[in-house]
């Protein structure tokens, strides 16, 4: 099933255009939505998740007109917001039972069955009697996945799920997500490029409410094959280099020198070395092109 978004626009009361005439098609599999903080990722995802209505535009998922018939979408939707709370003094088991009820599972036996399963999938079965409010960040995020699975969703939207997770939790989380994503559409926003690289078969870069690039991680890096150059420079030279070249990133080395990565179709200068393109580079190139031109 395909998610088709066309000409979506949303302007907030304070004048910020969070989504700007956005159109995109997303198919089955993992879709990574990459963008810096404030790019409009959450706005977009909330809009798809029926929590917010756009000013204009349409969204369809399969034959569901999302904006007109949000109940039909909610039946197949699994949503994990960027941050969420839980009712205090309720155990994971009780809360999941509560969500299962909200999601329309009427029989008690069914609820028990599926709650047990999602707890096992997310490795929370051992702590199912503990209050969710007392969970650590990773556990809570896994709980988020657990509740999302309750209605066997076809469209899964997860908003920056890996932020703040420790490496082990992150890996585990991504594994579960990947497992879920084999048969459904998973839209997954992040500002961590690695998440996308490791997981997604499709991706888009979003900034200022617009899609800057819609591609696949492989294709994206292939596209800039041979256009990434790197050089180790002294701190004092940085400003000059930034002026002269299209610097994508610069980071310190332990010896106080700086590594710069530059985008150029041809070798910018003799002392630049060609580097293997990374997804980061794609990301920065896209953002760079979108930056307001300073006169």
């Amino acid at each position: 099933m395909k998610l088709i978004i066309s000409n979506l626009t949303k302007t907030y009361k304070n004048g910020v255009k969070a989504i700007d005439n956005l159109s995109i098609e997303i198919g089955t599999g993992m879709f990574g939505l990459l963008g810096p903080n404030g790019a409009g990722k959450s706005s977009l995802m909330r809009t798809i998740a029926t929590l917010q209505s756009p000013d204009s535009g349409t969204i369809t998922f399969g034959d569901i007109n999302v904006l007109e018939d949000n109940m039909s979408l909610r039946k197949v939707l699994g949503y994990l917001p960027q941050s969420f709370g839980v009712y205090p003094k309720m155990s994971a088991e009780d809360l999941l039972d509560y969500f299962a009820t909200l999601k329309g599972i009427s029989s008690k036996a069914d609820r028990q069955k599926i709650v047990k399963e999602v707890l096992e999938i997310t490795n929370l079965y051992g702590v199912r009697k503990k209050n969710v409010a007392g969970y650590s960040g990773g556990m809570k995020q896994r709980f988020g996945i657990a509740q999302l699975l309750l209605n066997s969703p076809k469209l899964i939207i997860v908003d920056e799920p890996t932020a703040g997770l420790d490496p082990a939790e992150r890996v585990r989380f991504l594994n579960v997500l990947r497992e879920v994503g084999t048969n459904s559409t998973v839209i997954f926003s992040t500002h961590i490029v690695d998440d996308v690289k490791e997981l997604c078969n499709e991706m888009a870069i979003l900034n200022g409410g617009r899609i800057l690039k819609h591609t696949t991680p492989l294709e994206a890096t292939k596209e800039i094959e041979g256009q990434i150059w790197t050089k180790i420079i002294d701190r004092d030279d940085l400003e000059g280099i930034e002026k002269t070249y299209n610097v994508l990133s610069s980071n310190y080395n332990p010896d106080n020198t700086i590594n710069v990565r530059v985008h150029a179709t041809e070798k910018p200068a003799v002392d630049f070395v060609q580097a293997a393109p990374q997804l980061d580079d794609v990301y920065f190139i896209a953002l760079k092109q979108d930056e307001p031109v300073v006169a």
Partner: protein
């Protein structure tokens, strides 16, 4: 650092719109209340005139304090929020690592929020100041502006209260990090205040309750309780004694609370939590290596059907209910509420220190309006909590993205709220039954409990719940929502002050209901249910609006919410809305139609204007000579099942005057009637508004001629919304005045002189002076008859007994109806009653007089006491005054819903079920009066004091009937139960007299010239005649009265007056006591007697010498309560010691005052007071020192120790040694 935080906080508030909204709300409230009390709505509703100045110091402080109470509900979100905000925004994680001290932080936060609150409160003062003076207010009742009054209110009462309640709320919110907790604290404090004042309601506890009342109102009341209207208007509230102690005490407690906050507050990241079990600690690690699992979700069924959603609604409501029940605001209110109920029950229906039996209807009254306010507050609070909880806990995005329909979510919250209300109502039922069990009363009427609580009360709360969900959904902050709801709920009834009187315009208002054992809910329920149905439909309309505006997903701007609501408004919603709106408006119109078009609706303003027009139009007939009724023969049919009556009657009228009469002024009532005279006549004026018709006789009625009037009366058919007859299904009680026509102008004029002036009417003297010999032609009972022959046939349904004055001539049954024919063998006043009910009868005899009590089955408890009362009264009166004129005396019970009184008709005494039949008299308890006995004695005494001696319709007439009946009641009580029981009665009478005279609207006159106020004719009258019998001797006084009775009983016009009776008493009063007559009858005189110092020394012979220093002073009040200390031209006496700031002033004294010395003796294990010495001393000075030698060791000394005299401060007359 302090000033940085302090300034930051102030800036925060000053920039916030809420600050200005609060100010605007309070400004409006203060303006509205002040202006309406000063009569700005006089053009819409009844005039606010009165002899009270509305902005007197007392008035200002009461209003100021009252409005400030509202602001306590804002404390959690202003004072509580100051620190909570840092938690909520998680600012505290950064802030608490900054280098400022705890003191800086706490003081700055606390003081800044206190400043904000005091600023909002200043607005109340400004609002009041302007409100009293808005154009359109009546400046006659507004005094000049007194700045000091406002300052005093602000600094003595309001700021300390703000500090106290602020500190407590600050502490609670700071420690619990929970605004709701702060809120509940405010409610609990109010509850506790209620409990304390309930526990300490006894006058003996007034000092303690003055000290303990956190608001300080009781402390002020301690001094101002007995202030007369003049004193209230003029005097500043004192700042002395217990007021200062009270303020210091509570300021101390406030500082203590704040000190505790300071001590225990720490810059920690987590709220303090209390845990009763100690968790054992362990090292926790999590597994960091997880494999890849295959996801294979089990197949489950998803059901999105309507039925399933209904089931889900129920299931979710249980989750919500669990949350409510587990939350401690709920728990604490339930607990404190239960305690409140149990404590309230200690003074259950108490009269004269005696409780009533804990019957179920009485139990259902215990929670009263305060408990239903708590149910409402919980409803308002949890409506907000349930609506906003998901958002507050940030679960809303998870929930909102599920398939649950909005209506299911909303429905589940509504159902949870209703279940909570049901639980609260269960608390009332359990509380009631606990009290019943505790009192050994096991007649549980579970059905009655369930019906009243779960049907009648529940529907009322449901309607509030619907409004609560609506408001809480519209307003995004649950505490502001709560505040708005409180203002609506408390303010709604007050809309009447602005002329909005009809209930259909005021949410969830309408007629109430009340229950009596005899008549159940009577006929009130059909109207109750129709209004509740109307508002329930109104509430459901709101529920649809709530659903339309329900927030799903991100919080929206209001504009967006409007758009969403519009989008949601389709299909079934439109149909439901249309149907509900049509039914709401339709039913509303039906009610409006019934009340305004089918029946004439008279607003209170119109009523006032009609009174004026009535007087202007018909007063000229006041002295028109009319024939007098000399006999009445009545046929009355009562239909208890259909609640109808039909009646016909024949009056025989005689022209007793010396002039011919050609005009008959017939004053009748609103019932459909026909009138027929036996002489040719013409109806020259028919007034359907005042029901005052004028007939012209073709041939004038010559002196001595007779005229017959035949009339028929029936009620209009009853409708479901209106009952047009006074008939009850069981326990009907009607009298001739409400049913049958009378002759001549009947008075009923406006009494307030200021309002009269507004309408161009002269001052109203109410009645002529007794010295006006031209005004003695009528009794105060009737102006169209003297003594009449009476005969009546009354029919009722077969299962009931019908009673009218007279002797039963015949009783028969015909066509399923029972007939009773009564006839009087003796002339009676034109004043008779009709009763009908399913009665049991208890019979007895006193000499040859038949005694009967017609009572409701199950109300047997006090029949013997009442029988004894009848006998005691018959004996005392006939022995001391004159023989009993009848051969029977009957008491007839009537439902409490008809009133809580008894009334004495000729040998027939209707007696409310509430004032004796279910009294729980404890003969062992000296503080409890056997009031079933006492009231019976009083009513039977009226057979002499009203039915033999009847005063002319002039000032002071009620002294001859009510005061004397009360005197007899006291004397019989004293002979039956002993002197010690009298103190409760006398103290109660004194307190009621002194209290009730403070709300006098017109004037207070001396006893023998009184206007008929209850507090004068009953309370003051009983005190005075009791004291008089003490001064003169009971026998001597009664002999004088006997002479008087012999002279005036059954007399025709001119009728007797108080002057005549007082003269009889004066004649037997020795010269030395003539002053008593003046003090008691002719003037309003009050004592202020006090023991100053007492010392007792044991003498060598084993006796004891008691040195007593005491003060006696006396002053007089004028009509308005202004004090006078001189008889004539500055002859007052004074006393002043160096310590005193102001001298004591008194009217010249030559008074005889009791000095008593007491000791305690043990009798049967109980301590009893024994008189060692009691003697009247002649007192001529204010300050007196005497020495008395007594035989035993004294324990207590008193000046006027039994409070026989009217003493403005009765609790300092005795001193314990």
């Amino acid at each position: 650092m302090f000033s940085t935080i302090f300034k930051y906080e102030l800036k925060y508030w000053i920039k916030k719109p809420a600050f200005y909204i609060y100010m605007a709300i309070f400004l409006f409230l203060a303006l509205f209340i002040a202006a309406s009390s000063a009569g700005i709505f006089d053009f819409l509703t009844i005039s606010a005139g009165s002899s009270k100045v509305v902005n007197s110091p007392m008035g200002v402080i009461e209003l100021f304090n009252g409005l400030t109470t509202f602001i306590f509900f804002l404390f959690p979100s202003i004072i509580g929020l100051s620190i909570y905000r840092d938690y909520k925004s998680e600012m505290h994680t950064i802030l608490y690592s900054y280098p400022f001290t705890k003191a800086n932080y706490l003081f700055a936060k606390f003081l800044s929020s206190i400043v904000i609150v005091t600023l909002i409160v200043i607005v109340i003062g400004i609002g009041m100041f302007i409100g009293f003076r808005l154009p359109g207010t009546n400046q006659d009742i507004v005094g000049s502006f007194s700045f000091i009054t406002y300052v005093q209110a602000y600094f003595v009462y309001i700021i300390p209260n703000i500090l106290l309640f602020g500190a407590i709320v600050f502490a609670v919110v700071t420690f619990t990090r929970n605004i709701a907790a702060g809120f509940i604290t405010v409610i609990l404090l109010m509850l506790i205040q209620g409990i304390v004042s309930n526990l300490l309601s006894d006058p003996d506890n007034r000092f303690i309750s003055a000290l303990l009342d956190p608001y300080g109102a009781e402390a002020a009341n301690y001094y101002t309780r007995y202030w007369t209207v003049a004193e209230q208007n003029e005097q500043l509230l004192p700042v002395k004694g217990v007021i200062i102690y009270n303020r210091l005490l509570w300021l101390g407690i406030a500082s203590l609370v704040f000190g505790l906050v300071y001590k225990f507050f720490s810059f920690s990241q987590n709220a303090i939590s209390f845990s009763f079990k100690k968790e054992k600690s362990e090292r926790v690690t999590k597994s960091n290596f997880g494999g890849i699992t295959r996801i294979n979700l089990p197949k489950v069924n998803y059901n999105f059907s309507f039925i399933q959603n209904l089931k889900t609604t129920w299931k979710l409501s249980n989750t919500d209910l669990k949350y409510i029940i587990k939350s401690w605001p709920f728990i604490s209110i339930v607990l404190v509420g239960l305690i409140f109920i149990l404590i309230s029950s200690t003074a259950l229906g108490q009269m004269f220190g005696t409780k009533t039996l804990p019957v179920t209807w009485q139990m259902l009254l215990v929670p009263g309006s305060s408990f239903s306010l708590f149910i409402n507050i919980l409803t308002f609070l949890y409506a907000g909590m349930l609506v906003h909880r998901a958002k507050i806990e940030r679960v809303n995005h998870l929930i909102d993205a599920t398939t649950i329909p909005n209506w299911t979510l909303l429905g589940s919250k509504l159902v949870a709220l209703l279940k909570m209300q049901l639980l609260m109502l269960l608390v009332i039922m359990i509380g009631g039954m606990l009290i019943q069990v505790y009192n050994g009363y096991y007649n549980f009427e579970i059905g009655h409990y369930l019906y009243e609580l779960y049907v009648l009360n529940f529907v009322h709360f449901v309607i509030w719940a619907l409004l609560a969900l609506f408001i809480q959904t519209l307003i995004s902050n649950p505490y502001i929502g709560l505040f708005a709801l409180l203002v609506i709920a408390i303010g709604m009834p007050f809309l009447s002050a602005a002329g909005i009187e009809q209930s259909i315009f005021k949410y969830n208002q309408g007629p109430g209901f009340s229950y009596s054992d005899m008549n159940g809910y009577g006929t009130s329920l059909s109207r109750y249910f129709i209004y509740k149905l109307y508002w329930l439909i109104g509430g459901l309309v709101l529920l649809i609006y709530t659903a339309l505006f329900w927030v799903r997903g991100l919080p929206h701007s209001f504009k967006e919410r409007l758009q969403i609501a519009k989008a949601r408004f389709k299909g079934g919603t439109i149909i439901a809305m249309a149907l509900l709106s049509i039914s709401f408006l339709g039913l509303g119109y039906k009610i409006y139609h019934e009340n305004n078009i089918v029946n004439r609706y008279t607003s209170s303003k119109e009523r006032e204007e009609q009174q004026v027009a009535w007087e202007k139009k018909y007063k000229k007939y006041e002295n028109a000579i009319q024939p007098r009724i000399v006999s009445a023969k009545i046929d009355l049919n009562i239909f208890p099942k259909k609640l109808n009556f039909t009646a016909s009657g024949d009056y025989l009228l005689v022209n007793k005057s010396e002039k011919a009469i050609d005009t008959i002024l017939l004053d009748h009532n609103k019932y459909p009637s026909t009138f027929e005279f036996n002489r040719e006549n013409k109806l020259v004026s028919e007034d359907t508004l005042y029901n005052f018709d004028i007939y012209k006789l073709k041939q004038a009625l010559q002196p001595g001629d007779t005229l017959q009037l035949h009339f028929t009366v029936k009620n209009k058919p009853n409708t479901i919304l209106r009952k047009h007859s006074p008939v009850q299904s069981n326990g009907t009680f009607m009298n001739n005045m409400e049913l049958f026509p009378s002759l001549g102008y009947s008075g009923g004029e406006l009494t307030d002189d200021k309002i009269r002036e507004k309408y161009g009417l002269g001052k109203n003297e109410l009645r002529p002076m007794p010295s006006d010999s031209t005004a003695l032609g009528n009794t105060y009972i009737a102006n169209d008859a003297d003594w009449i022959d009476f005969e009546a046939t009354v029919s009722t349904s077969e299962d009931q007994i019908a009673i009218a004055p007279g002797y039963l001539q015949k009783e028969w049954v015909k066509d399923d109806r029972r007939y009773f024919h009564y006839k009087m063998d003796h002339k009676i006043l034109n004043f008779y009653s009709f009763n009908s009910g399913r009665y049991e009868v208890k019979k007895d005899k006193w000499n040859d007089v038949n005694l009967e009590i017609y009572y409701h089955k199950g109300h047997e408890y006090n029949l013997d006491r009442m029988m004894k009362g009848m006998k005691g009264s018959l004996a005392y009166n006939s022995e001391n005054f004159s023989p009993y004129q009848h051969k029977q005396a009957r008491i007839i019970e009537f439902p409490r819903t008809g009133g809580g009184f008894a009334q004495s008709f000729p040998n027939t005494i209707p007696f409310s079920e509430a004032i004796g039949f279910i009294a729980d008299v404890d003969d062992e308890d000296d503080k409890g009066v056997d009031y079933p006995f006492a009231i019976t004695v009083h009513e039977v005494a009226h057979q002499w004091w009203a039915h033999q001696v009847i005063g002319a319709d002039v000032l002071g007439a009620t002294m001859l009937s009510e005061s004397l009946s009360e005197y007899v009641s006291l004397k019989v009580l004293e002979h039956e139960h002993g002197k010690s029981k009298m103190r409760t009665f006398l103290k109660d009478a004194l307190d009621k007299y002194l209290t009730q005279r403070t709300s006098e609207r017109k004037r207070e006159k001396a006893l023998m010239y009184n206007d008929g106020q209850g507090y004068i004719r009953y309370q003051k009258g009983s005190l005075i005649f009791y004291a008089l019998s003490d001064y003169l001797g009971e026998k001597k006084l009664n002999n004088a009265l006997k002479k008087y009775v012999e002279k005036v009983k059954f007399q025709e016009a001119p009728y007797t007056t108080s002057i005549d009776m007082v003269n009889h008493i004066r004649a037997i009063t020795p010269d030395s006591l003539q002053y008593v007559i003046k003090d008691m009858f002719e003037t309003i005189s009050l004592y202020s007697n006090r023991i100053v110092e007492v010392k007792s020394t044991e003498l060598e012979n084993g006796k004891h010498k008691v040195d007593i220093e005491f003060n006696v002073s006396k002053y007089r009040n004028d009509e308005k309560g202004k004090r006078f200390y001189a008889e004539k031209g500055g002859d007052s006496i004074t006393f002043k010691t160096e310590k005193m700031k102001k001298p004591i002033v008194s009217v010249p004294l030559a008074d005889y005052i009791d000095i008593g010395i007491f000791t305690e003796e043990e009798k049967e294990g109980k301590k009893k007071e024994v008189e060692l010495y009691l003697k009247k001393h002649k007192i001529t000075e204010i300050n007196n020192k005497i020495s008395i030698i007594v035989d035993k060791r004294p324990t207590e000394v008193g000046v006027d120790p039994y409070n026989k005299l009217i003493d403005i401060k009765s609790d300092d007359n005795r001193r314990k040694l």
